[in-house]
């Protein structure tokens, strides 16, 4: 059993509260009963003394006569098994043994109950006393009359002790009897109340990374926000897992394809029988290793960029950075489309030019590589009031990629697999723009437009 558990704590605390409150009630009623009992017994002692005193004052005894002894019947003690009615015998009651009295006249015993011989000296002080005679506790009451007459009544203390034990037992017994069914009831109620929590726990535990579905249990109001939060978490985890899988699949494709080319053509070269076959294999190997080199270079660039924290900033006109980037494109790509630049010459940006150039070059390279032949690519720069530069590059593409996956490492649209590329260019661009404190956004617009929007802080001239 776990100690740190809501259920265990609830059970312990509720049971403790029930036990404490029952015990407290029992204690209070025990005290009350004992107090009332003491009052009755004490009053009886005093009243008996007064009764005897009054009678003897009316009928004085002879001073030299033997003391008058009131007999007390002897009954064998049968314990506490009989009912009160059975205890009431014709000749009296066994408890008469436990009550005694003495009457003294001028220091001489004149009258006593049979069992009062054990009190040799009368208590001369008026009032209640507690005595210990021959190992027995007595509660006594002494009543002196003015004419040298003393009345002394006593009651054994164990009568009251017995009574208090009975009353205490009477209080404890119901607690003992009630506690077991009560705790079972408490256990059942706690279990019932905690059932939704249990179900939620099982439901969460049963979910595996491969099959992350949301939890749709009917929950009490307190658990609904927790279930919602778990569901949101599940959604996010599912999204990340999906992203991760796609990344691995994309990376596998980009890395394995050039390796396959190299391996296959190297084997072919080994077995080539004609120079024609040799040439074909060799050129394919060169092609594959070029592709691999490009991929490795891109990966290294990306990892270098990831380690850089700050950049060397200098100011330059945006137009010149864009033109430099365009001039780095291979001629066939430049000539494939027509370019429309709309950039004010007074826009000055601050940043690392070489990095910005390669970022823009990657965007332009992609824009023309995947554009339809002889289509238009427009590059438009606008400066917003908040001194932000927005640079929009828009092309007309034969196939539209998913914009939310653009910029993901190794992602290449399936319709573009026949076009050379590593799938890392836009990731590099994204990182460079982030280093410059900017953002990059990808959008597609039906039927054929892909729009890349860069937002960069601008350094005003």
């Amino acid at each position: 059993m776990q100690i740190n558990s809501i259920k265990v704590w609830l059970l312990i605390v509720i049971n403790l509260i029930v036990i404490c409150s029952l015990s407290f009630t029992a204690l209070v009623s025990y005290k009350d009963a004992m107090h009332e009992l003491d009052e009755i017994y004490d009053a009886q002692l005093a009243r008996n003394a007064r009764l005897v005193a009054t009678m003897l004052t009316a009928m004085p005894v002879q001073p030299d006569a033997n003391p008058l002894v009131v007999s007390v019947p002897e009954f064998t003690d049968t314990g506490e098994n009989l009912t009160s009615a059975q205890e009431r015998r014709q000749g009296g009651h066994k408890y008469e043994q436990k009550i005694a009295f003495q009457v003294w006249q001028d220091n001489r015993l004149v009258m006593a109950s049979e069992n009062a011989g054990q009190f040799p000296e009368p208590m001369t002080e008026q009032g209640y006393h507690e005595l210990l005679e021959q190992g027995v506790h007595w509660i006594s009451f002494s009543l002196p009359q003015g004419n040298g007459l003393w009345v002394f009544t006593a009651q054994r203390e164990d009568v009251r002790q017995e009574m208090s034990e009975h009353i205490a037992l009477a209080q404890i017994r119901p607690i003992l009897v009630m506690m077991l069914p009560l705790s079972i009831l408490i256990y059942l109620v706690v279990k019932l109340i905690l059932r939704p929590l249990n179900r939620l726990q099982h439901s969460v535990a049963a979910r595996q990374a491969e099959q992350l579905t949301e939890i749709s249990l009917k929950q009490p109001a307190e658990l609904q926000p927790i279930q919602q939060a778990i569901n949101q978490l599940i959604q996010r985890v599912r999204h990340y897992i999906q992203q991760e899988r796609r990344f691995v699949a994309d990376a596998a494709h980009e890395l394995r394809t050039p390796l396959s080319i190299l391996q296959l053509h190297a084997q072919n070269l080994q077995k080539a029988t004609s120079t024609e076959e040799q040439h074909e294999a060799i050129s394919a190997i060169i092609d594959g290793s070029k592709r691999m080199t490009h991929l490795v270079n891109q990966l290294l660039t990306l990892s270098r960029l990831e380690r850089i924290q700050d950049i060397h900033c200098s100011r330059a006109a945006l137009v010149s950075v864009v033109e430099d980037a365009l001039s780095q494109l291979p001629l066939p790509l430049l000539d494939k489309v027509s370019w429309q630049l709309d950039i004010a010459s007074n826009i000055v940006i601050s940043g690392d030019h070489i990095l910005l150039q390669s970022a823009l070059r990657n965007i332009f390279d992609n824009a023309s590589k995947y554009a339809k032949n002889n289509s238009l690519i427009s590059v438009v720069a606008t400066v917003t009031e908040a001194s932000n530069l927005t640079l929009t590059v828009q092309n007309q593409s034969a196939v539209l990629p998913e914009p939310q996956r653009m910029g993901n490492r190794f992602f290449r649209h399936q319709g573009h697999q026949h076009i050379d590329g590593s799938g890392l260019g836009l990731s590099i661009t994204q990182r460079i723009i982030e280093l410059h404190g900017g953002t990059i956004q990808f959008e597609v617009q039906q039927p054929d437009q892909v729009i890349v929007t860069l937002a960069l802080p601008v350094a005003l001239a």
């Binding site: 296959l264 084997q267 399936q414």
Partner: protein
């Protein structure tokens, strides 16, 4: 055996064609799923080697389309993707084998033979009809226990005849088997190969069925 290779990377495809041709197969190549479906509907192939990431979409749908149309051609998926999900998806859609790139061409060829064996309910790669014996694994042929040396095209033809004994193979099919889509179909190259096979083995082994094609006669000795 004639194989259709669907692979969007042309350099890779060229290398595979060269290797597999050397191992005695006739390969046709296309780069898109829809072209593959067209090719399969108008020509006969013994196997389909399919890359999954194609320009016109994920190629699992190609397998599904084929199976839905009742085409039972063995499909070997050859892809760079090794995610379990993709593999299961491919197998559940009707793929017969799944190979992750890069693959050694010898392994690929062995898997092709396995699929061919399974498709023709054989346990090994030795084809035997009467006294002619052809070992597809080692590309060797023997007649009456004597080794016979065959050219690549003769081997390819004989293998297909022995895979389908006593069945008429159309002239067009055999032409495509020998020379591929871009071969010279009007020439009498096929007759030359068949003549040569008859000479090397038995004159009655391959029967000409006029107007239809040719047939391997397993009871040529009778």
């Amino acid at each position: 055996m004639r194989i259709l290779l669907v692979e969007d990377n042309v350099t890779l495809a060229k290398g595979m064609i060269t290797s597999l041709k050397r191992l005695g197969y006739q390969i046709e190549h296309c780069t898109q799923g829809k072209h593959a479906l067209q090719a399969l509907s108008c020509s006969e192939f013994s196997l389909l080697i399919l890359d999954l990431g194609l320009p016109d979409g994920f190629a699992i749908s190609v397998i599904k389309t084929l199976r839905k149309a009742g085409n039972t051609i063995p499909v070997l998926v050859l892809t760079a993707q090794d995610a379990l999900e993709t593999k299961l998806d491919a197998f559940n859609s009707g793929a017969d084998d799944y190979v992750v790139k890069p693959v050694d061409v010898l392994e690929l060829e062995a898997r092709v033979r396995v699929l061919s064996r399974r498709n023709t309910l054989r346990r090994d790669d030795v084809l035997a009809v009467a006294e002619v014996c052809l070992d597809a694994a080692n590309m060797q042929c023997s007649y009456q226990g004597q080794a016979v040396s065959l050219t690549r095209r003769e081997f390819m033809l004989l293998k297909d005849f022995m895979l389908h004994p006593d069945r008429i193979l159309s002239r067009r099919y055999l032409d495509e088997l020998c020379h591929g889509w871009d071969g010279e179909t009007e020439s009498n190259a096929l007759e030359v190969h068949i003549h040569s096979l008859r000479k090397k083995l038995h004159p009655q082994l391959i029967k000409t069925i006029r107007g239809l094609g040719y047939m391997l006669n397993s009871h040529y000795a009778d």
